[in-house]
């Protein structure tokens, strides 16, 4: 550390030579595959073309690089190329999911009645200017609302217990909570179905969905919330204790406010998971075609359930409606997601 260089050396830049070999390999492999695949050999299909292009690109690239570079550099470049392609595949799949959903749902989304009507008295084959998914949107909002009302207090209290109170029993709770974050949603649904509907004898309602949703959300909130509480600097807690505060007021006035953003993120993560739970809604509620406001009386439809039942009809127009509902659901998830990012960015800026 005697002297610092005026300009740090760029370790991740490509030289002109690198660029030329990369572009050359791309062009050469494209030309070869274009010639062989499309004109000489009896092959067809976009997928096969892309795969053969990639394989021949790797061969060309390795060949070109081997003129001047040692073996370990060639391996490095090939791995880099493969990683870029893998990233493109995954991101492309994600983008295609989002774009395709909106594109297929577009025909339903442009009708205003899609958002303001329900499907009562409207057959699945009816044209798109009749009926809508208002009942499913309202159902989803009510169900998620009740689930939040149950899961957030319980989940945050559990997180506080695991992180602030602790003890041997807390370790048990943590183990079980961790195991339950990965509980298949269908089992939570089945559990609530048998307890509430078969044993207690409640009808299939939105409330049952909310309970089942809360069962899957609590472990997520508790676990992510505990992580958020644990990153609160212990100096803050000690300062509070040193000022004579009780444990409770330390938690209430120091720990929880400091972890606010993290707890909100945990909640939104859980909501984003809960909102799309199809199996739970399928088991514990019915797919009503009419609007249900009362969560404890009639079967209540929700967006995932609407999507599923509409898809099962195999009617082209019902499937368009399913994609329309999927777009709305996806938009809700996107909004929640952007909210999460915004909250965590806020936290980062304050540090």
């Amino acid at each position: 550390m005697a002297s610092t260089p005026v300009q740090p050396r760029k370790i991740r830049s490509l030289t002109a030579d690198d660029w030329v070999s990369l572009v050359g390999a791309i062009l050469a492999s494209f030309a070869l595959v274009d010639l062989l695949y499309l004109h000489v050999l009896a092959t067809s299909g976009a997928l096969g073309f892309v795969v053969s292009w990639f394989v021949s690109f790797m061969l060309f690239y390795a060949g070109i690089l081997s003129f001047v570079n040692p073996r370990h550099v060639i391996v490095d470049r090939l791995v880099t190329a493969a990683l870029y392609v893998a990233a493109l595949i995954v991101l492309g799949a994600l983008a295609s999911t989002v774009v395709y959903t909106f594109a297929q749902g577009w025909r339903a989304l442009v009708h205003l009645n899609f958002y303001t009507h329900d499907m009562s008295g409207v057959s699945p084959t009816a044209p798109l200017n009749q009926g809508g998914i208002l009942h499913a949107i309202v159902g989803t909002v009510i169900e998620v609302g009740i689930a939040i009302a149950i899961a957030v207090p319980v989940g945050v209290a559990t997180a506080v217990y695991m992180s602030e109170v602790g003890g041997r029993f807390a370790r048990w709770v943590r183990t079980v909570v961790e195991a339950m974050t990965a509980l298949p949603e269908i089992l939570a649904g089945l559990f609530v179905y048998v307890i509430l509907i078969v044993y207690v004898g409640l009808p299939k309602t939105g409330f049952a969905v909310s309970v089942a949703m809360a069962v899957t959300m609590v472990p997520i909130i508790a676990r992510a919330g505990e992580v958020a509480l644990r990153v609160v600097p212990s100096g803050l807690r000690e300062a509070s204790s040193a000022l004579g505060a009780t444990h409770w007021s330390t938690v209430r006035k120091v720990v929880l406010p400091s972890a606010k953003a993290g707890l909100a993120t945990a909640t939104i993560l859980a909501v984003a998971r809960g909102i799309g739970e199809t199996a739970v809604a399928l088991i514990t509620s019915g797919a009503s075609s009419f609007m249900t406001i009362n969560p404890i009386q009639n079967p209540m439809n929700s967006l995932p359930l609407f999507i599923f039942t509409a898809d099962q009809t195999h009617e082209p127009l019902a499937i368009v409606r399913a994609f329309g509902a999927a777009s709305v659901l996806l938009a809700m998830v996107l909004v929640l997601f952007i909210l999460t990012r915004w909250l965590s960015r806020d936290k980062g800026a304050r540090r």
């Binding site: 550099v73 880099t80 995954v90 109170v165 339950m180």
Partner: protein, 338 residues
């Protein structure tokens, strides 16, 4: 020390009495501790109760069918002929196909994000992976069925044409027919697995990426300084460091893939047979079986479904606990935030 206790204003004891080192809790703290312990116990009871409950419900079924519950292939409740052999195999096949696709992609994407991506876009990539995890599974189901399937079956056909001698890729139809039977290739384990892999990738990738990012900077720089290429650094520092995270993250994703319902339910066509031909139409998984049959199930059938659910529960519990232990024991010890 004990003589100075009288100096503290809060203590009411006389100076002759030694100050208690652990004076006990304030009343508010006792209530706070009591209530939060109670909540913890409640959560333990409910979430842990699911396993116990399913286990108890499984007893009558297991008593009635005995071991044949695990060896019977068909699910014909009306004939009192019920077993999960085919369903269990289907569940494992879908999950394994999903992981075969998801593992390399998740690993490569995680490496790309942690070590290769331009610094400017790194945070966007992390967000994209998180978003991918937040997309509801039913949407991946629609995507798999309507967008992916028409393309994927051409790959299925090509595989069965050229590698049909390999039992996994065999399809019971003539792959070279001029007008090929597309319906023999749709709704297969392969396509369901591909849709499920969309849910497994972000989960595995998030864990792996978090662990890769924790690989010690000093060791990375040391490897660089010795003249290593970027891949050299990855191979000698990052990957050995993150071995636990890679295995743990993949197992976490496997646990998710095993229990996936909505996407599988949309894509597969139910078939109860022991087969390893993953490209061929028809299979069944435990979660899809429950979702498809609970509605018109009698009490004993419900018990049978819950027994199947209990088996699924045990498998996912085993996989996830193993994943948690592996991640915790690894040098890195990072979890996922989902």
């Amino acid at each position: 020390m004990s003589t100075s206790a009288s100096n503290t204003p809060t203590t009411l004891r006389s100076s002759s009495e030694p100050r208690l080192l652990e004076p006990g809790l304030e009343r508010s703290d006792r209530i706070f501790h009591g209530l939060s312990t109670l909540t913890g116990a409640f959560v333990l009871l409910v979430t842990g109760g699911i396993g116990l409950f399913l286990g108890l419900q499984a007893i009558p079924t297991l008593r009635h069918y005995g071991l044949s519950f695990f060896t019977t292939v068909v699910w014909q409740p009306e004939l009192d002929h019920i077993g999960i052999a085919a369903v269990l195999l289907g569940t494992l096949e879908v999950a394994l196909v999903a992981m075969t696709l998801a593992f390399p992609l998740a690993l490569m994407l995680a490496l790309f994000i942690s070590d290769y991506a331009p610094v400017k876009i790194k945070s966007y990539l992390v967000s994209a992976v998180d978003l991918m995890a937040a997309v509801p599974s039913i949407i991946y189901g629609l995507w798999g069925f309507f967008l992916l399937q028409p393309h994927a079956i051409t790959l299925s056909r090509w595989l069965s044409q050229n590698f049909g001698w390999f039992p996994l890729f065999h399809v019971d139809t003539d792959p070279n027919a001029a007008v090929w039977q597309q319906s023999r290739y749709t709704s297969s384990v392969f396509i369901a697995g591909a849709a499920v892999s969309m849910m497994a990738i972000p989960l595995a990738c998030a864990v792996m990426r978090a662990v890769f990012d924790q690989a010690p900077q000093g060791e990375r720089e040391a490897a660089m300084a010795l003249g290593g290429t970027r891949f050299g650094v990855v191979r000698t520092v990052v990957l050995p460091f993150a071995r636990g995270g890679i295995i743990g993250g993949s197992m976490l994703a496997l646990g998710r893939a095993l229990g996936e319902t909505a996407a599988v339910l949309i894509i597969i066509s139910p078939a109860y047979e022991i087969k390893f031909r993953v490209l061929e139409a028809g299979t069944q998984t435990i979660s899809a079986l429950i979702a498809g049959n609970f509605g018109n199930a009698t009490a004993s059938q419900l018990s049978a479904l819950m027994t199947a659910g209990f088996v699924l529960f045990l498998i996912t519990l085993l996989v996830n606990t193993a994943a948690a232990v592996i991640i915790r024991r690894s040098r890195s010890g990072a979890g996922t935030d989902i």
